[in-house]
């Protein structure tokens, strides 16, 4: 398997590789929780929290 995101029939001048962003525990939890949303499951998606509520 290659990390090259560009695939084709020639070699490009520059290689572009994926920045294999490691899945964090937070990402995993939020993804799993989202799948089960409903019933008594509710959770906070931390990336969407607007910490400064005055901005709204």
């Amino acid at each position: 398997m290659s990390n090259d995101v560009l695939r084709g029939n020639f070699k490009t001048r520059d290689k572009v590789e994926i920045k294999q962003a490691e899945e964090t525990l937070e990402d995993r939890f939020e993804m799993e929780a989202k799948k089960r949303l409903g019933g008594s499951i509710a959770f906070v998606s931390k990336k969407k929290v607007m910490w400064d509520t005055d901005k709204k």
Binding site: G8, T12, I18, K19
Partner: protein
């Protein structure tokens, strides 16, 4: 030879990427066959954000950057176009796909970075554009099927590109240019059947183009004979799609030999164990071929040794597959044949179980044919995927209750879509003013808003607004008849409709207009065997 970068825009971000973009994979193969230098960046698969898209744009001296897709790729396409102009200013930007085709003039004005648009089918138009750019030419108006910019400002739509009929001359899609192992095979699962659930190496194929039906919410991407060119209200040449009385179709399919060779290629090269047929409606093709096409494809499956054999752990040798069916056009016999060749599930756009709604949507299906096909499919051992839609123009309390009854009786677990007027559909044309009114006259906002039809965007129901539809759907899911009955009383009071009178605000004129064509669809379905009969429904000329 031109250096071409093809970018597959991001779509349906709320889900993992599941489908190699078939059109782009074919265009890449065609361009390579013509000798061009091609690279693919599958932005949708990698989901790496703008920084990677920028890096890709500067990774070489691109002559051409091409992108496109379905309507809901709009936001991504607009972003890619901006990045490409900034980071690869020398590249000619080519946009195509259903997104551009449904609204070519609007797209060219909303995305000013696009140099040339490919309207409709790209198989011949795209390589011709590439050749012209390679030769240093920029007179795109000389190439059929393009929309481009006049040197002094304004747009030129060239002549319409006729559809290609020798489909078997197409190369196989360049699947190898997409991250199959890294992304797509990991997301092979199709949670519609046991076999779909266990699929671990799935690839999709598109064996035919078009559908003989005229569902008024449906759009065929301008590649099904559904597109015409006409002068628009400003006197400019523009695209036109289904409208009452002007239905056109051109039914095309690959030969079973091509389909067999394609699947064999996918099996030999990528070791697949599942195939998803992307075809709009496999049954149209079967009926149209005089009931030979599906049968011959199934025979190929057996001949090639792909008819699956179950192993003890639930997996199999061979290749299971899935596709799309049609309630009225399927037969008990063909379903059985399909199951024996490995078909695991079939998507049915049942849409509704209310006869008065079904009559107006142009599907050529009835409550009875919905029910019949449902049981036939189950009996054959195939899982039907019973899609439902609410919010049709004449949706009312009766139709809502009829749907709930059917779900209850048939054990259907479904979260219905909302009837959504995607551009290119008949209902987009019919309701254009009304849609634009829901977005303060700004049609681009509507396009941005479009996603999965399970979220609400523009409402075309005459009886219910967006909030009502959302609430009604929730009550439907809970089979909460009491709440719906209670709300009906409030609704009747608000609209001054007495008990006993039909719960609808739709004028009789409008219902009549939808019904006139419904009769045509019905009679043509009945005896449609070949193109002449399809032409009766659609008014289209025959090709096969």
């Amino acid at each position: 030879m031109a250096k071409i970068l093809l970018i597959n825009p991001t779509v349906r971000e709320e889900d993992v990427p599941r489908h190699v973009p078939y059109g782009i994979a074919l265009l890449a193969a065609i361009a390579m066959e013509k000798g061009h230098l091609v690279q693919v960046y599958d932005e949708n698969a990698w989901r790496q954000g703008d920084e990677t898209t920028k890096a890709v744009c500067v990774a070489d001296d691109w002559d051409i950057i091409g992108y496109g897709g379905i309507t809901t790729t709009y936001a991504s396409v607009k972003r890619i176009a901006r990045i490409a102009r900034e980071y690869a200013p020398q590249a000619v930007q080519v946009m195509g796909g259903g997104l551009l085709t449904s609204l070519p003039r609007e797209m060219m004005s909303w995305i000013p970075q696009v140099d040339v648009g490919c309207v409709g089918e790209g198989f011949i138009t795209f390589p011709e554009i590439c050749d012209m750019i390679d030769r240093g030419g920029r007179e795109f108006w000389d190439i059929k099927g393009t929309v481009s910019r006049k040197p002094g400002g304004g747009l030129i739509m060239s002549q319409m590109r006729p559809l290609m009929h020798d489909l078997d001359s197409l190369p196989f899609p360049a699947w190898e240019l997409f991250p199959l192992e890294e992304v797509y095979f990991k997301n092979s699962q199709a949670l519609f059947s046991e076999e779909g659930m266990l699929a671990s190496r799935r690839l999709d194929i598109n064996a035919s183009y078009g559908c003989s039906l005229i569902c008024r919410f449906c759009y065929h991407l301008g590649i099904a004979g559904d597109m015409r060119y006409e002068k628009d209200a400003n006197g400019d040449l523009n695209v036109a799609f289904d409208q009452p009385g002007t239905y056109t179709r051109d039914i095309r399919y690959h030969s079973p030999d091509y389909v067999g060779a394609l699947v064999k290629h996918a099996y030999d090269k990528f070791n697949i164990n599942f195939v998803g047929f992307l075809d709009e409606n496999l049954m149209t093709m079967d009926k149209f071929s005089g009931r030979t096409w599906m049968n011959d494809i199934c025979n190929k499956w057996h001949d090639l040794g792909f008819a699956p054999k179950a192993k003890d752990d639930g997996t199999w040798t061979g290749i299971h597959w899935s596709g799309t069916s049609h309630a009225t056009l399927c037969t008990k016999g063909v379903l059985k044949t399909m199951r024996e060749a490995g078909c695991s599930h079939l998507v049915y756009g049942y849409e509704s179980f209310a006869p008065h709604v079904l009559k107006t949507i142009g599907k050529g299906a009835t409550r009875e044919s919905n029910l019949r096909s449902f049981f036939w499919t189950l009996e054959a051992g195939i899982r039907p995927v019973p899609n439902q839609i609410i919010g049709f123009p004449n949706e009312d309390f009766d139709s809502i209750r009829m749907n709930m009854n059917a779900w209850d009786d048939l054990g259907i677990q479904v979260r219905p879509h909302f009837a959504t007027p995607y551009p290119g559909s008949e209902w987009f044309t019919t309701y254009r003013e009304r849609i634009s009114g829901q977005y303060d006259g700004n049609m681009e906002r509507f396009i941005f808003d479009l996603g999965d039809a399970s979220s609400i965007s523009a409402v075309i129901s005459h009886n219910f607004n967006a909030v009502e539809l959302l609430g009604l759907r929730e009550a439907m899911l809970q089979l909460n008849y009491r709440r719906i009955d209670e709300y009906e009383q409030i609704w009747r009071k608000n609209h001054q409709i007495p008990d006993g009178a039909p719960s609808t605000l739709l004028s009789e004129n409008m219902t009549g207009a939808f019904l006139r064509d419904a009769d045509k669809v019905k009679s043509a379905i009945k005896d449609s065997e070949r193109q002449d009969a399809v032409a009766e429904v659609t008014g289209a000329g025959g090709t096969h």
